[in-house]
Amino acid sequence: MTMSPSLARRWPDLAVVALLAAFPWFGGKFEVDLATTIMILAVFALSLELLVGATGLVSFGHAAFFGVAAYATALLAPKAAAPALLVLLPAAMAAAAAFAAFVGALSLRTRGIYFIMVTLAFAQMAYYVFHDTKLGGGSDGIYLNVKPVLAVGGAVVLDLDRSLAFYYFALAALVATFAFLAVLLRSRFGRALAGIKANEQRMRAAGFSTYPYKLAAFVVAGALAGLAGFLYAVKDGFVNPEILAWHQSGAVLLMIILGGIGRLRGAVLGAFAFVLLKEFFQSEAIFGAFARHWQLLLGLAIIACVALMPDGLIGLAAQLRRTRAVAPRAS
């Protein structure tokens, strides 16, 4: 029996999923926690990949949707009882999607450099709403008192308060997001986005009204960022305005360029690489007291990565092959 060709190409992804599924068995508490963070950020990075890599819309305000969902999760959850997962998760994603619809409708009237600046500005607006007002507890943030559960009838089937259950829930979310985007990008909608990225004017001349496509992509990306935001809020049970800061938007952009723009696997790899890089630079064991200034190393790493690896880690093999193909002729 031969495997269908598309399934055969998927074996690296399946291997990674299997590895992640087995990880809690041979990783310690700290490592499992780190892996959970990586998976959440991978969902976040995948959501931005839909915007930047697939549609060519460089947004510097994507953290806003992540943050809005996180805050929605904490704000909508009852103070004393366990919130219903099937109610809270869609609500959080809907909140993110609604804000994305608002920001997208206005921002997509602009192009290029304006778009980047405008998305940044709207994210700052959201930051100030949560930082300056009493809505979300101001700069102190708010807590999610009781983690959500999935209850069927009267019995609790899934309690996200249990760290192992939450780990597998996050893994399921990552797999679902990846699969959803893979199918989406192959659909007519996805191909239209690819055409818009390649040459929007050409698409318009062919008969595609590009604004609705871009807005839909923007809202879907916002909703998926909301999924990541929900997971983030549930994981540590605490949300503060810094998750909406533009450093978050910068970090997620860095993740996808580090991994490799234009590839779903690149987004996941980039999230993984980014978290590890940050851990490395912040490690006092390696850098001693200088670890306090890890942002300096991160900044230099960002510059080096963008300058030297334009195709990211995923494209590194191909890039090295290209440079080796050229080098012999030079000698």
């Binding site: 206005l106 602009t110 450099i113 709207f122 300056d132 533009w246 910068g250 510059i303 963008v306 334009p310």
Partner: protein
């Protein structure tokens, strides 16, 4: 609000707007002429403030000078720094996509912030204005207005006039205006584009540094002060239109008014109002008020 308070707020709005103009004009020129989006522009403002803090004692000790000597020295350092930065870093950004420029200059922000932390620490510092600029002017019966803030506005107006003269009346200004609307054309006309770029960038840096230096006595010197200015400058550039100095001027004043009066009239929503303004203008004119080229 009585007349005196209104007058005070107007002067505050003017001062804030004019200061924003110094920063935003550099940003819009650099983007309009060179097509580079430079996120680190706010860092130059911060560098200016820290320069004011660091240079004052040094200048007093070694040169026997005061505030203005420090200002002059700071500007010279800023121009040299801007020139070197363009030559060593920014010139590599011209051919790159916007995303790469955004990320590389974002990395630069982190580098500048940490260097600042290493060299000047993380504490908040104050800077004293020169003695003859302290004190206040009376406004009506009850209110007074700080002389130093009037001085700030004066400096900004002088710089704005200077910019106008250079851009509208000199040959290099002509090249700048042409470059803002059509970069390739200017190149093919044989203008030494590399030199023009370096000059424009150094000027942009100098403007931001000057803004930081004169703002230091009023806003104090603290970590992260560049970030807020940067984003508001972006809003100004979006509202005014990329590449347009006139647009940056009008938009700066508009933002100054909305922000200042917003803080007084709607203190809860103060931080958000400027973005609401931007959203409203985008609905009406997606390319800013005075789009170039």
């Amino acid at each position: 609000m009585d007349l005196a308070t209104f007058l005070v707020q107007c002067l505050n709005a003017l001062q804030y707007g004019l200061l924003l103009f110094l920063v935003a004009s550099g940003l819009t020129l650099i983007f309009g002429i060179m097509g580079v989006i430079n996120l680190a522009h706010g860092s130059f403002y911060m560098i200016g403030a820290y320069l004011a803090y660091a240079l004052a004692p040094w200048v007093a000790l070694h040169l026997g000078g005061g505030f203005f000597t420090a200002l002059l020295l700071g500007m010279m350092l800023a121009v040299a720094f801007g020139y070197a930065l363009e030559w060593g870093f920014v010139s590599y950004l011209y051919e790159r996509e916007h995303l790469q420029q955004v990320l590389m200059t974002y990395g630069l922000i982190l580098v500048f912030e940490e260097l600042r932390s290493l060299l000047a620490g993380d504490d908040v510092h104050g800077v004293k204005p020169p003695d003859w600029l302290t004190g206040s002017v009376p406004l009506g019966d009850l209110m007074t207005y700080p002389v130093y803030r009037l001085f700030m506005s004066g400096v900004c107006i002088a710089v704005a006039l200077g910019l106008y003269v250079v851009i509208a009346r000199t040959r290099i200004g002509m090249a700048i205006r042409a470059g803002a609307s059509n970069r390739e054309m200017v190149q093919s006309l044989g203008v030494n584009i590399r030199f023009l770029y370096r000059v424009v960038f150094a000027a942009g840096v100098a403007l931001a540094v000057l803004a930081g230096m004169i703002a230091a006595p009023v806003s104090s010197v603290y970590p992260g002060m560049g970030n807020q200015v940067l984003i508001i400058s972006f809003v100004v550039v979006v509202i005014g239109g990329i590449g347009s100095i006139r647009g940056a001027f009008l938009a700066s004043l508009l933002v100054g008014v909305v922000d200042t009066f917003g803080k007084v009239l709607f203190p809860q929503a103060a931080g958000v109002l400027v973005y609401v303004l931007m959203a409203a203008i985008l609905l009406w004119r997606p390319e800013g008020l005075f789009r170039q080229g």
